[in-house]
C-alpha cells in the first residue's frame, strides 16, 4: 500500500511503523530511544508526526504507529516543531551539558534553559536502550530503578554488579553517551567495576574483558580450547574472515 510522507509517495506494508517507512525513504525524523535492533517503546517521543486520516489530523508517535490505511503524514510541521522544541527544552534542562541533546535542541532553536535548576552531571535521558541491550546480551546487570521523576538506570543497589561482564554494550547503544567507560593499561572501568582486558592473540591489543569472553563461550557452548584458544579482536576477526572467504571463493575452488 501507499502512504504519503511530506508529500512523497512511499510504499509501505500494512502494520509497518511510520518511522521505518520514513527512514527507508530517507525522510528524517529525530529519535533518541529508537534502535533498529529493538521494537519501539515510544519513550522519548521526539519522533512525533502529524497523521491525517479521514480528514482529521492528530499527533502520533511514528516509532510505534502501524500503517493500516492510506494516510497522509507530515513530519516537520510548525506544530510538530513547536512541540519538539518544548520537549527538547525540557530534555536540555535535564541534561544541560550533554552534547547530543545540546545539538538537537539547537536545531529547534533552544540554546539554554535558565528557568530551571539542573544537575550538570546528568546525561541520561532514560531511553531504556542500555537496559534492553544488557537484557538481550543475557547479563541483565542494569535496571531502571525507582519510578517517575526519580527514575534512573543503575546496577542493583548501585553496587558494582556481580552479573556485569563489562562488555560495554550499554555504552555502545546509549544515544547520548551517558554511560562512561574508562579503558587504560589493560583495564576497563564501567558501572564502578574494574575488569582485566584480554589482549588479542593476533595483534596484542586488549579488546575484551575475560568475563565477557567466558560469558559468550558459555552461551554459545564453545569449548575454551576451540579455535586453538584464539581470542581475536573484532578487527583481526574480520581480517581473518576475509582471508578465509577469499581462500574459499568459488574462483579458487574450481
Amino acid at each position: 500500500m501507499k502512504i504519503r510522507i511530506n508529500g512523497i509517495d512511499c510504499e509501505a506494508q500494512p502494520g509497518e511503523f511510520i518511522l521505518d517507512v520514513a527512514r527507508r525513504n530517507n525522510i528524517y525524523i529525530p529519535t533518541l530511544c529508537h534502535h533498529d535492533a529493538f521494537a519501539g517503546e515510544a519513550r522519548c517521543r521526539l519522533c512525533i508526526v502529524e497523521v491525517v486520516e479521514r480528514g482529521r489530523s492528530r499527533v502520533v508517535t511514528s516509532c510505534v504507529y502501524p500503517v493500516a490505511g492510506e494516510i497522509e503524514v507530515a513530519t516537520d510541521t510548525e506544530k510538530i516543531r513547536s512541540l519538539r522544541k518544548t520537549l527538547l527544552m525540557l530534555l536540555l534542562a535535564r541534561t544541560p551539558q550533554n552534547e547530543t541533546i545540546k545539538k538537537l535542541a539547537r536545531e529547534y532553536g533552544v540554546t539554554e534553559v535558565a528557568r530551571f535548576e539542573s544537575d550538570p552531571q546528568e546525561e541520561c535521558i532514560l531511553c531504556n536502550l542500555c537496559v534492553r541491550a544488557c537484557e538481550q546480551l543475557g547479563a541483565g546487570a542494569i535496571y531502571a530503578v525507582n519510578r517517575g521523576v526519580t527514575k534512573k538506570v543503575a546496577t542493583l543497589f548501585e553496587e558494582p554488579a556481580e552479573e556485569c561482564i563489562g562488555c560495554a554494550a550499554c555504552a555502545a547503544i546509549c544515544p547520548t553517551g551517558a554511560i562512561k567507560v574508562l579503558e587504560k593499561e589493560g583495564k576497563r572501568i564501567i558501572w564502578n567495576r574494574e575488569f582485566e582486558m584480554v589482549p588479542c592473540s593476533n595483534c596484542g591489543r586488549p579488546f575484551a574483558t575475560a568475563e565477557q569472553l567466558a560469558f559468550y563461550r558459555a552461551r554459545l557452548k564453545v569449548a575454551p580450547d576451540r579455535y586453538g584458544g584464539d581470542r581475536l579482536c573484532e578487527n583481526c576477526r574480520q581480517k581473518r574472515a576475509a582471508e578465509l572467504a577469499s581462500l574459499m571463493s568459488p574462483a579458487r575452488l574450481r
Binding site: A42, R43, R45, V59, L90, I125, R147, G148, T150
Partner: protein, 601 residues
C-alpha cells in the same frame, strides 16, 4: 401478621464512610441488644450489613424497613433507645432523624430528603438495600435474571446490539461506547478472549467503585458474565486496588456463592456456557488503573503503559482480545438487558445516556455517593443534592474528574453535566470525583496539589510526562512561595500543552488539566501571585497578610482566644489588631470570624 413482621429489616450502613465512624460497632451493638432484649423469634427483625447509603457526612446510618425510617449519626449510647422505641414500639426517635440540609427540617425517610430526591439509582440500585454477602438478597431483586435471559433467549449479537442501543459509555473515565468496544472485540477472530473489571480506583478520595463492590458485588459479576457471553470469553479478572481489603473479601465471597448456584463456572445454568472469574489485587500505583498498565500488571510485569495504537480489544491481556470495563459500567449491564437499551437511552443527554455515580465531597453540606441522570446541572448537584456550601460561604469552583480533572468556576454552575460538556469545560468526567471548593480555596495552590500528586504517580516511562510534570511542579511551588517569575504562567501553558499532546498514556495526556483549567478560568489569581505577590484566598502563606477591618470588628475576642500564635490583641468590644510579625498565616481567625471582619490584604 407474623409474615409481615418477618420481613422487617434493619439496615445498618457499613459503607466506607460509615465504617470509618463506627458502623460496624453499631451493627454488632444492635444485634446483641435485640437478642438480649428477648425480642423473640417472631418479632426479630433482620439485621444486615449493607453497603453504602450515600450520605456519608451523616454516618453511621441505620434504616428501618418496612416503616422506612432512617436515623443518622447513630452512636452506641443511642442503641438502647432505638431498640426500645423503634424496634419494639415502632416509634420514631425524633432527634436521630436526618436533617434536610436544604429545608433545615427533620425528615423521617430517605425519600423525603433532598439529598435523595434528585437521585436515580441504576448502578447503585441495590447498594445499601441488600446484604452483599447473601446472594439470595440479590436474587430477590431480579438478580441473575438478565443472565438467564441472555443465556437462553439472546445470541451474542443481540446482546451487543442491546448494549449499543442503550448508548452506555464507559464509566472509568474516557467514556468509550461500551457496545462498540464489545463489538470490536467480538469481531476479532482469535481466542482465548478475556474480560476484565477495572476496580483499581486510584484517585485519592474516590470510593464509588469500592462502594459498588462492597455493596452489590453480584451486579458486577452478572454484568461480566453477560459481557463474556457476548464476546465469547471464558475467563475474566476483577482487578481490585490492593488497599481495598473488604472489597476483595466481598468479591471473593460473592464469586464463591455465584459458583455454588451455577452463575459462574462450567456449564452455567445448564446453558453450556463456561466462564470463570478471578480476583487480582492491584499493583498499588495510580497508573495501574490505565488499561495497558493494568494488563501488564495482571501478567506479572511492571505496571507501565504501552502505546495503544493496537487496541486491547485486538491485543490485550497476554496479547489476546480483551474487553476491559469499569466497575460501574459492568453494574449497569444487567438492568440494561432486563429493561432494554431503549429504556436506558431515554435517560440522560443526547450523547451521554443513563446515570453517573459521583462522589460529592469538599465544602458541601451533604457529602457522599450520589447517582444522578446525566445532564443534571452542577447547581442541582451542589445546591440541591449537596445542600449548598458548608457554613454558607461563597461557592468558588468544583473540581471534577479526579486528580487530572479540571476546576469549573461559578459562572458555569448551570452546566449540564455529561462526558462532553465536562471535556469542553477543560475538565473531564473521569471516574466521577466531584470536589466542591469555597472562596477560601486558592486555585494556584489547588493546581499545585494535583500536579504534585501526578508527578509522584507518573511512571516516568515517557519524557513529556516525566520531565514536564517535574518542571510544572517546580514552577507552581515557586509561584505559591512568592518566587514566581514573569513568564511563568505562559511557560506553564507551553509545557502543559506539550505534555497533553505528546504523552504516552492517559495519565500524562490529562495531567496538565488542573493547571490549564485553572489558568483558563482563574488567570487573575495566577497574576496576583506572580506579579503582585499576593494570594487573594489567603492560603499561600508567604503571600498572605490578614488584617482586621476596624469597622466590622465587634471586639468579640473569638479570634484572639483562638490564635495559636497569640498574634491578635485588643480590648473587649474594641476593634482588634493582628501583629504581623507574629502571625503565622494559619487562617484560623478568618475561618472563625462571624462578622467577616478579617480580610486578606
Amino acid at each position: 401478621m407474623k409474615s409481615e413482621q418477618a420481613k422487617r429489616k434493619i439496615l445498618v450502613c457499613c459503607g466506607p464512610g460509615c465504617l470509618a465512624v463506627g458502623g460496624r460497632e453499631i451493627l454488632e451493638g444492635l444485634r446483641s441488644r435485640i437478642a438480649a432484649a428477648g425480642l423473640d423469634a417472631t418479632v426479630e427483625p433482620v439485621i444486615k450489613g449493607t453497603g453504602c447509603h450515600g450520605l456519608c457526612e451523616q454516618g453511621p446510618m441505620v434504616r428501618f424497613l418496612p416503616e422506612d425510617i432512617s436515623y443518622c449519626r447513630v452512636s452506641l449510647p443511642d442503641l438502647d433507645e432505638i431498640v426500645e422505641q423503634t424496634v419494639r414500639q415502632q416509634k420514631v426517635v425524633e432527634r436521630l432523624l436526618l436533617v434536610d440540609a436544604l429545608t433545615g427540617r427533620r425528615v423521617k425517610s430517605q425519600g423525603e430528603n433532598s439529598f435523595y430526591k434528585k437521585q436515580l439509582k441504576i448502578a447503585l440500585r441495590n447498594t445499601g438495600e441488600i446484604n452483599p454477602l447473601n446472594i439470595d438478597d440479590y436474587l430477590e431483586r431480579d438478580g441473575y435474571r438478565a443472565l438467564a435471559k441472555v443465556l437462553f433467549e439472546m445470541d451474542p449479537e443481540t446482546v451487543i446490539a442491546e448494549v449499543e442501543k442503550s448508548g452506555l459509555r464507559g464509566r472509568g473515565g474516557a467514556g468509550f461506547p461500551t457496545g462498540l468496544k464489545w463489538r470490536q472485540c467480538a469481531r476479532v477472530d482469535n481466542s482465548p478472549k478475556y474480560v476484565i473489571c477495572n476496580a483499581d480506583e486510584g484517585d485519592p478520595g474516590a470510593f464509588m467503585d469500592r462502594g459498588i463492590i462492597e455493596g452489590d458485588p453480584h451486579s458486577v459479576i452478572e454484568g461480566m458474565v453477560i459481557g463474556a457471553y457476548a464476546i465469547k470469553a471464558h475467563r475474566g479478572f476483577v482487578y481490585i486496588r490492593d488497599e481495598y481489603a473488604l472489597a476483595v473479601k466481598t468479591m471473593l465471597e460473592a464469586i464463591r456463592q455465584a459458583e455454588a448456584r451455577s452463575y459462574l463456572g462450567r456449564n452455567i445454568l445448564g446453558s453450556g456456557f463456561d466462564f470463570s472469574l478471578e480476583v487480582v489485587r492491584g499493583g498499588g500505583a495510580f497508573v495501574c488503573g490505565e488499561s495497558t498498565a493494568l494488563m501488564a500488571s495482571i501478567e506479572g510485569r511492571v505496571g507501565e503503559p504501552r502505546a495503544k495504537y493496537i487496541r486491547s480489544v485486538e491485543r490485550g491481556l497476554w496479547d489476546q482480545p480483551t474487553v476491559l470495563n469499569n466497575v460501574e459500567t459492568w453494574a449497569n449491564i444487567p438492568p440494561i438487558i432486563l429493561r432494554g437499551g431503549e429504556w436506558f437511552s431515554s435517560i440522560g443527554t443526547a450523547k451521554s445516556k443513563g446515570t453517573k455515580v459521583f462522589s460529592l465531597v469538599g465544602k458541601v453540606k451533604n457529602t457522599g455517593l450520589v447517582e444522578v441522570p446525566m445532564g443534571i446541572t452542577l447547581r442541582e448537584l451542589i445546591f440541591d443534592i449537596g445542600g449548598g456550601i458548608l457554613n454558607d460561604r461563597k461557592f468558588k469552583a468544583v473540581q471534577t474528574g479526579g486528580p487530572s480533572g479540571g476546576c469549573i468556576p461559578a459562572e458555569m454552575l448551570d452546566l449540564e453535566v455529561d462526558f462532553d460538556s465536562l471535556t469542553a469545560a477543560d475538565s473531564m468526567m473521569g471516574s466521577g470525583g466531584m470536589i466542591v471548593m469555597d472562596e477560601r480555596t486558592c486555585m494556584v495552590d489547588t493546581a499545585r496539589y494535583y500536579i504534585d500528586f501526578l508527578t509522584e504517580e507518573s511512571c516516568g516511562k515517557c519524557s513529556p510526562c516525566r520531565e514536564g510534570l517535574k518542571r510544572m511542579r517546580e514552577i507552581l511551588n515557586d509561584i505559591c512561595s512568592g518566587a514566581g517569575l514573569p513568564g511563568d504562567i505562559e511557560l506553564l501553558e507551553e509545557i502543559g500543552g506539550m505534555v497533553r499532546e505528546c504523552s504516552l498514556c492517559g495519565l500524562g495526556k490529562t495531567a496538565p488539566n488542573p493547571v490549564l483549567s485553572t489558568i483558563k478560568h482563574f488567570r487573575e489569581e495566577y497574576d496576583e501571585h506572580v506579579h503582585r505577590k499576593r494570594c487573594p484566598a489567603g492560603i499561600c502563606r508567604p503571600l498572605t497578610t490578614f488584617v482586621i477591618d476596624g469597622e466590622a470588628c465587634t471586639g468579640c475576642g473569638l479570634c484572639r482566644k483562638n490564635c495559636p500564635a497569640e498574634a491578635i490583641s485588643g480590648e473587649p468590644k474594641e476593634p482588634h489588631v493582628i501583629d504581623q510579625s507574629r502571625c503565622t498565616k494559619c487562617g484560623n481567625c478568618i475561618e472563625l470570624c462571624r462578622f467577616n471582619a478579617i480580610t486578606v490584604k
